[in-house]
Amino acid sequence: MIFAVAAPLSELLSFGDQGYGDEMFWGAVKSVEIAFFAYAFGLFLGLFGAVGKLSGGPILKMVLEGYTTIVRAVPELVLILLLYYAGTDGINGLLKLVGQNPIEVNGLVAAILVLGFVQGAYSTEVLRAAIQAVPLGQIEAAKAYGMSAFGQFRRIVLPAMLPNAIPGLANLWLNVTKDSALISVVGFTELALATRQAAGVSKQYFVLYLVAQAIYLSISLSSTFLFARLERFVRRGQPKLA
């Protein structure tokens, strides 16, 4: 009986009017797109956050501490809802102030910015810990050679901290691919919502959700594989552990 339902799978997942293959495929592409750009934005925030936390003034440090503490203590879903509405309202409020008509904020851009802001707090902590684990003597030696601050970072701190940071950053990437599903709650059609809509129309809930899970799982497993290779690359030249 269950398998009788699963029989016309090729039809169910076909591209075109009858099947839902194209809807789910483009949903998956949107999910990866959200995850990728949110991750990049989060890394960008995290790099500034980490440097600010380590060498900023007392006020900057306090602001960053508040950012990472609050964002990491509140559920992602609640933050996404809050920032999504607050962000779109805030932009329209600003436009109103300067006498412009309100705009429809692009759902994709809003999703990326909101997820990226959340990711930034986690990235800050991962990068801060990784930078702190770089032996101080190496940085002092770089200073003694007369390297500029940027030169110190690019030639000494960055290559020395990447092996410490990659496992944490890999985790963050896996988290953001999974958190991209939360964007469905504000009504943006990525993989999870595309699946939900397709399942609602076709009534093939079980099969379609299984397919969506398989897509998420293949994204995760291939990412794990790629990050393992990346870690081997940044650890080249390091002595083998044990």
Binding site: I2, A73, V74, P75, V78, L79, L182, F206, L210, Y216
Partner: protein
């Protein structure tokens, strides 16, 4: 800022808090109990049990909890009426409340994440201690229950705080299927009163307080465990 809704809806929020705490406590306790055999199976089991346990952990950790909940509630839930004989005799199973699916989904999720940690903990117990236990003539069961398991659990406890907080922060996902947890109560308030931000801000504050309490409570528990450094 409007807060006049708070007294009216306060009992509603308290009920939501209890549902959230039920999900958290049930899934952490039962999930941890499940995680021990799953973690152990990955270390010692036969090829079949080992790959099954490994596949379970990969599935749980590789897919979003949101879609896991939907697969159980909408997917598996939609299969029950199709099974002949079930409709007549087990109507309760078909009418099962969303909370049962949510409890199952959260428990399996916590078990999957925790089993991976238990696997590492079992592996990190020094081999010499296990060999010594065997040399004393302990049976495999005694080695596990007296030496291997207690040593592994002590290693896991410090990471448990983070895992439990992570689980707390996933609990709002329950509201995407009809469950009136804190998040569900909050979105009901927002729909009833048309107030957008205040209920969400209040919700964020509650979660921050819960996180703080859990951190403190586990910190206290950790200090009760004698360790030598």
């Amino acid at each position: 800022m409007r807060w006049d809704w708070l007294p009216t809806y306060f009992p509603f929020l308290v009920h939501g808090l209890l549902v959230t705490l039920l999900i958290l406590v049930f899934s952490v306790v039962v999930g941890f109990i499940l995680a021990v055999p799953i973690g152990l199976a990955q270390v010692t089991g036969s090829l079949a049990t080992r790959s099954f346990a490994k596949a379970f952990c990969n599935y749980i950790r590789g897919t979003p909890l949101l879609t896991q909940i939907w697969l159980l509630y909408y997917g598996v839930g939609s299969l029950f009426p199709l099974i002949p004989g079930l409709r007549e005799n087990f109507m309760w199973l078909i009418r099962l409340d969303a909370i049962y699916y949510v409890l199952l989904a959260f428990t399996l999720s916590f078990a999957g994440y925790e089993a991976e940690i238990m696997r590492g903990a079992f592996l990190s117990v020094p081999r010499g201690e296990l060999e010594a236990a065997r040399a004393f003539g302990m049976s495999p069961w005694k080695v596990t229950s007296r030496v291997w398991f207690p040593r592994a659990v002590l290693q896991v406890l410090p990471t448990l705080t983070g895992e439990v907080i992570g689980q707390l922060k996933s609990t709002p996902l329950a509201f995407t299927v009809p469950v009136m947890d804190l998040m569900g109560a909050t979105s009901k308030i927002r729909q009833d009163t048309y107030i957008i931000y205040e209920p969400l801000i209040f919700l964020a504050l509650i979660y921050m307080v819960l996180t703080f309490i859990i951190t403190r409570a586990f910190g206290y528990l950790e200090r009760l465990i004698p360790t030598r450094r």
